[in-house]
């Protein structure tokens, strides 16, 4: 016991010593990303109309600090927050990204709060969560009060990149449990594990004009069998995601792409009805979402975009025939670099058990402005996916 105490003391002393010797002359790269989404919404939920004059949810700031380490490694700290949806019980702001990352040419280790692997690709929607029931695996530990539960968690992720384009990731997550059980506030055990394998064409090589831009498969295993971890059933909850992005017409002026993702949630055969959020996440289901996007580019920059998306979700094991579909259309017009005016229309219909939870249907019109930036100051080194590094030899 004495030895353990002494060892702990030594560790603390060494840590203090390291802190004492922090040198100030190494200037990191400083990254700033910011996005403001302001929209006027009109909602009609099963015949009842409401409106929001100014919805700024999903607006947020990301700050990053990045520097070279010894032996060709790089280190990064990212801290970001966003304004969550109203009534989300997340407070005024939510720290959605707080992580440290270490990487070299072919490996990336990420630790902290960040985007969980609940989906493999992004879709052209006004806000990230506009179709989240169809685009993401739903968090079975959540009460469903906020969409952030499905998007962000405490993650431990290790990625290895083969030949620039093949990304193999193994990951473990601590998904948020809501409402937070008082006894679990200090529980940071992993409650999800999984892996994914993706082929990704780097964004910088878009004008190589290949048809296939991304294809990926992912497996997630929610550890729902642990005592206290919403363990209604003594089994884990598994799901598989398949995704692809096809450059239908990779033209620099009139660009078309098609995105598709299918999520298969194995569920538990015992779940025969969906009566709440927990049972919805535990019922076997298949969700697909597809987007067709047209992008008009003028002067080598995006000038306008139109997208049409459709998604469908079905629960084959339920006693009542239950499904959900969603139609989503939007258009954005660029007012200036980084600044867009947008319009979005959504129609969602629920059948079977889902009607009891969400009503028969929902129609939403949104008109808004979006301003997003992504800047680097004091830049010192190149990105892994720059054309110089990809096509002319990587420089650490």
């Amino acid at each position: 016991m004495a030895r353990i105490v002494l060892k702990m003391f030594m560790s603390i002393a060494m840590l203090l010593g390291i802190v004492d010797f922090v040198q100030a002359q190494v200037n990191p790269e400083i990254q700033l990303g910011a996005r403001g989404v302001m929209s006027f919404n009109v909602n009609n939920e099963s015949g009842e109309t409401t409106s929001a004059v100014n919805d700024f949810s999903d607006s947020g700031i990301l700050t990053g600090f990045r520097q070279k380490l010894y032996n060709n490694y790089r280190g990064q700290l990212v801290i970001g927050f966003q304004f969550p949806d109203a009534n989300s019980n997340l407070g005024q702001v939510f720290f959605h990204q707080v992580f440290v990352l270490i990487e070299n040419k072919s490996d990336i280790l990420k630790m902290g709060r960040s985007r969980v692997r609940s989906s493999l690709i992004e879709f052209p929607t006004l806000r990230d969560d506009d179709a989240i029931f169809l685009t993401d695996v739903l968090n079975p530990f959540s009460a469903g009060d906020d969409t952030e539960d499905n998007q962000y968690g405490n993650v431990l992720e290790l990625t290895h990149i083969f030949g620039q384009r093949y990304w193999l990731t193994v990951h473990g997550e601590r998904y948020r449990e809501t409402p937070i059980p008082p006894a679990e506030e200090t529980n940071f055990d992993l409650n999800g594990i999984g892996f994914s394998f993706q082929y990704i064409v780097p964004q910088t090589q878009t004008w190589n004009r290949e048809l296939l831009k991304q294809v990926g498969v992912s497996f997630n295993n929610f550890l729902t069998d642990r005592p206290g971890d919403f363990n209604t059933f003594d089994r884990t909850l598994k799901n598989v995601i398949f995704s692809t992005i096809l450059n239908i017409r990779p033209d620099p002026v009139h660009f078309w792409d098609l995105r598709h993702q299918t999520i298969y949630n194995s569920g538990f055969s015992e779940v025969a009805t969906v009566s709440d959020y927990a049972s919805m996440t535990r019922a076997r289901n298949v969700a697909t979402f597809t987007s067709l996007r047209y992008l008009y580019r003028k002067l080598e920059r995006p000038a306008a975009q139109v997208a049409l998306s459709f998604g469908y979700k079905t629960f084959p094991d339920l006693e009542n025939s239950t499904s959900q579909y969603q139609l989503l259309a939007n258009a954005f017009y660029r007012l200036g670099e980084n600044f867009d005016a947008g319009f979005q229309f959504q129609y969602i219909a629920f059948n079977g058990d889902l009607q009891k939870l969400f009503g028969k249907n929902e129609t939403r019109f949104q008109v808004g402005l979006v301003y997003s930036i992504d800047n680097v100051w004091n830049d010192q080194f190149d990105d892994r996916n720059s054309l110089l590094n990809l096509e002319h030899g990587y420089i650490p």
Partner: protein, 396 residues
């Protein structure tokens, strides 16, 4: 062993250990020759000297542990040296192996105007994969250089420059100051972050533009190339945003060099000028960068004998000269003061690597016939474990 023999042997061993042996070793002197521009060997086609030259993207080491992506003529920074006689007929077959546009301007030479290498003025740019043949008669005598004239700010500091020496068998300088050895020193200054950012950006744009060119969709505004000023003016009146406005593509700051090179290298990789007592050497100074340099030689005066390649009416004795961007100056150094002498920019900001002194264009004039005992190091040096004067010191 007799005491006298022992003392003699011991003294010899000590002296040998204390020599700046690496600096004066034959192997060092031979290796140093590679730190000067390497001559490009022509083939004769009738009475024409025909040269093959290409441009490609290349990884270049400025100093150990610091590499950048550069644009390199025939995989060399600076490019290979052309050396012809006055009046020679010269043909240079220039092949563009990059995905960027280029031209070659023959700086200070009296070439036909169609050979002057100014894009859209004397010729169309040499596009990806294309070859352009430059032909001219080598005039006038003297030290000149060549460089890319497309995207000049970026392409020159990325490495696209080299020396062009036009000799005269009846050389007036050689008559006045007989010499056997001569050296070419090409100065430049590099904002390596600007180079990296802009090269990546240009490569991305060119991928897009080449596709449009191939499909016959040249667009004046997209390419920022107009037939007339009136046409350009009309476009602006119709709302066209030229690339130089900040809401289009202009960066907020000009390039700020952090690396200062001689023959593509910074100290401690800069070349040495070797000389012998009583010898004259000719040094051809070329400023292919965008910064002024105030070059000062320790322990000597030197003769300024040529300005822009032209012999000056009256050689001027000095020990510090100003080398402006685009200038070539020839100097004669007389071996009159045995030793190892530094030759450097007296704007000491240019004697730094990434802001840290010493570095940059710091170099040395070395008397290779210096007696060994003159280079003996003192007691302190021996205590530091040095066996010779340390020619590489990286920190103050």
């Amino acid at each position: 062993m007799k005491r006298r023999t022992f003392l003699k042997t011991g003294a010899a061993a000590t002296t040998a250990a204390l020599l700046p042996s690496t600096l004066l070793a034959e192997s060092t002197i031979v290796a140093n020759r590679m730190r000067f521009p390497q001559p490009l060997i022509p083939e004769m086609d009738g009475d024409v000297k025909e040269f093959q030259l290409y441009i490609d993207i290349y990884q270049h080491e400025i100093v150990p542990a610091f590499k950048i992506h550069t644009l390199a003529f025939s995989d060399q920074v600076p490019g290979p040296e052309f050396r012809v006689n006055r009046g020679d007929k010269v043909r240079i077959k220039f092949k563009n192996k990059t995905e960027l546009n280029h031209t070659i301007h023959w700086h200070g030479m009296h070439v036909p105007w169609r050979m002057d290498g100014v894009p859209y003025v004397t010729q169309m740019p040499v596009m990806a994969g294309q070859e352009f043949v430059y032909e001219f008669v080598a005039e006038p005598y003297g030290t000149h250089f060549y460089h890319c004239h497309w995207g000049t700010l970026l392409h020159m500091q990325s490495g696209m420059y080299g020396s062009f020496i036009i000799e005269d068998p009846d050389d007036p300088i050689k008559k006045k100051y007989p010499y056997e050895r001569e050296y070419t020193l090409i100065y430049s200054a590099h904002d390596v972050n600007f180079i990296r950012r802009e090269l990546n950006s240009m490569l991305e744009r060119m991928k897009e533009r080449m596709y449009l060119m191939k499909t016959g969709r040249f667009d004046k505004e997209r390419f920022a190339v107009f037939n007339t000023k009136e046409e350009f003016q009309e476009s602006v009146e119709d709302g066209y945003q030229p690339p130089y406005v900040v809401n289009r593509r202009a960066p907020s700051e000009l390039a700020q060099p952090q690396w200062f090179t001689v023959n593509g290298k910074s100290y401690p990789s800069t070349p040495n000028l070797y000389i012998r007592e009583g010898e004259n050497i000719r040094v051809r100074l070329i400023n292919a960068g965008g910064e002024e340099h105030y070059l000062h030689l320790h322990g000597h005066d030197f003769w300024l004998v040529c300005d822009d390649g032209l012999p000056v009416p009256q050689p001027w004795q000095m020990n510090t000269l100003r080398l402006s961007p685009g200038k070539t100056l020839d100097i004669i150094i007389e071996g009159k003061n045995r030793g190892i002498w530094t030759f450097h920019d007296h704007d000491t900001r240019r004697v730094t690597n990434n802001g840290l002194y010493p570095g940059g264009n710091l170099m040395a004039l070395v008397y290779e016939d210096m007696p060994a005992e003159e280079a003996a190091v003192d007691m302190m040096a021996r205590k530091m474990g040095l066996t010779a004067l340390p020619m590489v010191a990286l920190d103050e």
